[in-house]
Amino acid sequence: MKKKVLISDPTLRDGNHAVRHQLKKEQFASYCKAADLAGIPIVEVGHGNGIGASSLQLGESACLDEVLHQTARENLKTSKLGIHMIPGFATIEKDLKKAIEYGVDVIRVASHCTEADITQRHIEFTRKNNKTAYGVLMMSHMASKEILVEQAKKMESYGAQALIIMDSAGFYLPQDVSERILLLTENLTIPVGFHAHNNLGMAIANSVAALEAGAELLDGCARGFGAGAGNAQLEVLVAVLHRLGYETGIDFYKLLDACDLAEKELMPAPPTINSLSIVSGLSGVFSGFMKPVSRIAKDLNLDPRDIFFELGRRKIIAGQEDYIMEVAKDLAQKNGKMA
């Protein structure tokens, strides 16, 4: 019997980071249709930081949550509709209830890797409404594997049906992933998943390492469309998985068609590992900081690489985008460029 792996595709969520959350209704519709035809099991949509995250802090969405949920729902017949939600940005009353009304299937409730207890109510609410709840630990490179296990077990106890660790900064090397996934699978009864970023060119290798260490769920995006250097490139990931003898349930030709469509219709250009995204990965800073760091560095005539390393030194986490201004101001003062 072939080994199975569950593929979740956040092209229309993580990819939104790459275009400052400007994906439009028509773009959601056409990629959903293509992904559905290809048989991708879960298609995740939304603002880059999930429901309720459209903001000045993170960037305003071109498309309202309601509209994109409805659009995705109309265009997904067999694929499940997934969303990302971070307590602290989104609430049950304002955001999650509405998403459930629009018919989302899978709710991935996420927190920074050490703060799982803020997801309790949202995971419980999801389960009470008979929807699938996954727990997500973001920026997982910032905690030891033992702490990840402790946090993951909390999410499992709230009712999470799978646990995903994200390499949000693209910092991991395969060995880092193996160690963490191995300990998690040993300590949890629910499936474990991995979400890669490609800042150091490791997204596919890290995803394979996760699988070999016992992960059962992987995230991948068409052309790698995602924050910073992008994610694990979905079509490459699926090709590799098929060669390794894994079953994904995905029609490979139709997947390639969907990815060609994504390149044409969703992105100005596919993500590349540019010099700054290597720095972003090395500094361990959230990949979603790429756009605002570049903008602020340009405005204040600073080297964006210095900003990334300083943010990393201060252990700034995803969601703290306002700290870029403070760090930039401090650097400018140090450089004597500002009174």
């Binding site: 000045l56 940005f89 049950i92 700034i316 986490i317 969601g319 306002d322 700290y323």
Partner: protein, 288 residues
């Protein structure tokens, strides 16, 4: 001057820090520190401070209605919904530190006197106390305030279990407070918990979309209101701005605490407690 008696319900981080601040006040005296468990850290701390403690929760006040004039509720939003009617029947002046938002909202630098007319005063949230003075200054000096967003980051260690379980209420209450004090058409509140060691100080950024941003007009009004916040929260300071960044007004404030119960990084604890004590002292002066 005779000190006015206060009871504190809730022996978590907020309640315990509040106790230390009340004990320092020339106008207030803590007559009962009420929790649910004698073994909790807060109760132990109160005992070492030789304060009258009880583990009976709200029943202690029901059974000893003359124990106090003012009640600080530092429990959780859900508990305050149960406590509020009981305390109203007993005629207590209630200062609510949970995000239950039953009472009238108070930010001392903006509307301290208004609280005196209420029986239940809500201190909004820590993020509300840190951001509203700035949002209010924006509302007073800019035309057509379309949108105000407030983002706070606090140290993970400064957020106890009730704070964490009340995250949704924190957001709703902060948004309502910012809206009501700034007059913005739309508001949004965001909270980040950062686990970095050494712990980060509380920081709050206010971003606003207004018709024709006028930072020069904002500056003097803002400085004035910041000075009045500093009178009750000495560790409050503006560290970035006001500037226009990406077309929006941008201001960041840092709040260093007094380091009473938790260390100085827990400015979130400090600012809401300092505001609550300022309200209670105002009431005590008014009653004397």
């Amino acid at each position: 001057m005779k000190k006015l008696k206060v009871a504190i319900i809730g022996s978590g981080n907020i309640g315990t820090d509040l106790l230390i601040k009340v004990m320092r006040s020339p106008f207030l005296e803590c007559s009962a520190f009420i929790g649910r468990n004698f073994h909790s850290q807060g109760m132990q701390k109160a005992q070492t401070l030789r304060v009258n403690i009880s583990a009976d929760g709200i029943d202690y006040i029901k059974n000893n209605p003359d124990c106090c004039d003012i009640v600080f509720d530092a429990t959780s939003s859900a508990s305050h919904f149960e406590h509020a009617p009981v305390l109203a029947d007993l005629g207590k002046f209630v200062i609510d530190l949970t995000p239950a938002k039953i009472g009238s909202m108070c930010v001392p630098a903006v509307n301290l006197k208004e609280g005196l007319g209420a029986k239940n005063v809500n201190m909004i949230t820590c993020g509300g106390q840190a951001s509203i003075p700035i949002a209010y200054a924006i509302g007073k000096t800019q035309c057509e305030v379309e949108y105000v967003e407030v983002v706070s980051s606090i140290a993970s260690k400064s957020a106890g279990p009730a704070t964490r379980i009340n995250l949704d209420e924190y957001i709703h209450t902060t948004e309502e407070g910012v809206k009501s004090f700034s007059g913005a058409k739309k508001t949004k509140a965001i909270l980040n918990l950062n686990p970095a060691i050494p712990c980060i100080n509380m920081q709050t950024t206010v971003m606003a979309k207004v018709k024709n941003p006028d930072v020069e007009k904002l500056k003097p009004f803002l400085s004035e209101i910041i000075e009045s916040v500093k009178k009750y929260v000495p560790g409050y300071e503006i560290i970035v701005g006001p500037v226009i960044e990406d077309g929006r007004i941008f201001v960041t404030a840092r709040v260093k605490g007094l380091g009473d119960y938790l260390p100085a990084y827990a400015g979130n604890l400090d600012i809401i407690n300092c505001a609550a004590v300022a309200m209670a002292e105002e009431y005590a002066k008014y009653k004397s």
